[in-house]
Subunit: 212 residues, 2 copies
C-alpha cells in the first residue's frame, strides 16, 4: 500500500472552479498543503476523464501527493493512479481490489453505521464519512451524519477516516475533534478565490486540532 496522509483531501469539481482550469486550482491547492487529491468528474466522456487524470497525475507527482480516481476503476488503471475511491453504488470493493492489486489505495464511502460494519470486514485503506454536513455539491448522498455521526463512526471504524460534506474553515476543527483523521473538501478550495490560501488555512486547522 502506498503511504498516504488524509489530513487535507481535495475532491475536484470543475463546475465549481470559477472558470479556472482544474490543473491551476489543484496546483495552487498542492502548494497550499493538500495531502491527497481525488478526481471526481461525472459529466464528461471517458477520454476527457482520462486526459484530466493524466494531467493531474503529472502535476501532483512533483508534490508526491497521491491521485485518487472517483468511481472509474478503468480510468485509475489507464492512468496508473495511486488509488480509487468508491461509493456504495460503485463497483464492489472486492472486484476493485482484485483488478487494482494490493499496492493501490482504495477508499470507501460510508453513509451509516451498517456501512462501517461492512467496511470493517474489508481491507480498505480508508473510509470517507459522507456527508458530515449537508452540502449542495453532491445531490445523491444520504442525510447528513453530523458531528455525533462522525464520533460514532470513527469510534467504530477499524480504518482511518476522512469526513466529507459541507466542511469549511468554520467547522473543520470540529470534524477533527470528532475523531476523523482528515477533512475532505470540494467547494472550500475549488470555489475559493485563493485556493492556495484556503488550503493553507484548512491544513493549519487540521494539524493544530490533531495535536490536541
Amino acid at each position: 500500500m502506498n503511504h498516504f496522509d488524509l489530513s487535507l483531501y481535495l475532491v475536484t469539481d470543475r463546475s465549481l472552479a470559477l472558470n479556472r482550469s482544474l490543473e491551476y486550482v489543484v496546483k495552487e491547492a498542492a502548494e497550499g498543503g493538500v495531502t491527497m487529491v481525488q478526481l471526481r468528474e461525472k459529466d464528461c466522456s471517458s477520454k476527457e476523464f482520462l486526459n484530466l487524470a493524466i494531467q493531474l497525475k503529472r502535476c501532483l507527482k512533483s508534490f508526491a501527493i497521491p491521485l485518487i480516481i472517483n468511481d472509474r476503476l478503468d480510468i485509475a488503471l489507464a492512468c496508473d493512479a495511486d488509488g480509487l475511491h468508491i461509493g456504495q453504488n460503485d463497483i464492489p470493493y472486492e472486484i476493485a481490489r482484485r483488478l487494482l492489486g494490493k499496492d493501490k489505495i482504495i477508499g470507501l464511502s460510508v453513509e451509516n453505521v451498517r456501512d462501517v460494519i461492512e467496511a470493517n470486514k474489508l481491507d480498505v485503506d480508508y473510509i470517507g464519512i459522507s456527508p458530515v454536513f449537508s452540502t449542495p455539491t453532491k445531490t445523491d448522498t444520504a442525510e447528513a451524519l453530523g458531528l455525533d455521526g462522525v464520533r460514532e463512526i470513527t469510534k467504530l471504524s477499524e480504518h482511518p477516516s476522512v469526513g466529507i460534506g459541507g466542511i469549511n474553515l468554520s467547522n473543520a476543527h470540529e470534524v477533527i475533534a470528532a475523531g476523523a483523521d482528515g477533512i475532505s473538501v470540494v467547494s472550500a478550495i475549488m470555489s475559493h478565490p485563493d485556493p492556495r490560501l484556503s488550503a493553507l488555512q484548512l491544513k493549519n486547522i487540521v494539524v493544530k486540532n490533531k495535536l490536541k
Copy 2:
C-alpha cells in the same frame, strides 16, 4: 481473439424496452437469432451497470453469444465480458487493448473516413459505422453517413464492419448490400412488441443479402 459474427448485433437501451426487463428482451432476441449483444447504459451507477452485465452474461452464455460492454472498460473487466466497444470519445484503443488482453473482442466506432484510416492502423476486431441513418436513440453522434458512406468505408476498411443508426426491417438489406458484414440495431428490437420475431426477420434479411 474470440470467434464472433457481426450479422445481427443488438445494442441495448433499457429506456426503449417498453417497460420489459432488459434480460427478457435480450433472451427473446437471442432466441430470434441475434449474434452479438452490446450492453450500453449511460444513466446508471457502476454497481447497477455491473449487475446488468453479470445478468446478461449469464443469459447469453447458453446461446454462445458474445457480450460486449459499451465504453466502460472496468465493467468489461469486472464481469469478464467477451469484449468492449469504444467510441471516438472513450478510452483510447491502445490502452483498452493493453488492459483487456489480446483474447477479447474490441470494436471501435468510426464516424468518417479519417477515423477509418486511423482504425486501419490498429488491430481492432471490428468497426461500427456510425450513424448510417439519422436516429433519435443516440444524440451525441455525427451526421448520418448514408449508404454511400457505408460503401466508401467498407471499401476502405481492413476490418469487418457493422452499420449502426436508424437500421430497421425496411432498410437493413441496403446496409448489407453496401458492404457491411452486419447490422446493429437498438429500437428495431428493443422497442418491438415481439423482439424474437423482429430478430428473426432482421437476421433473415442479413443472411439472404450476404449470400448475394
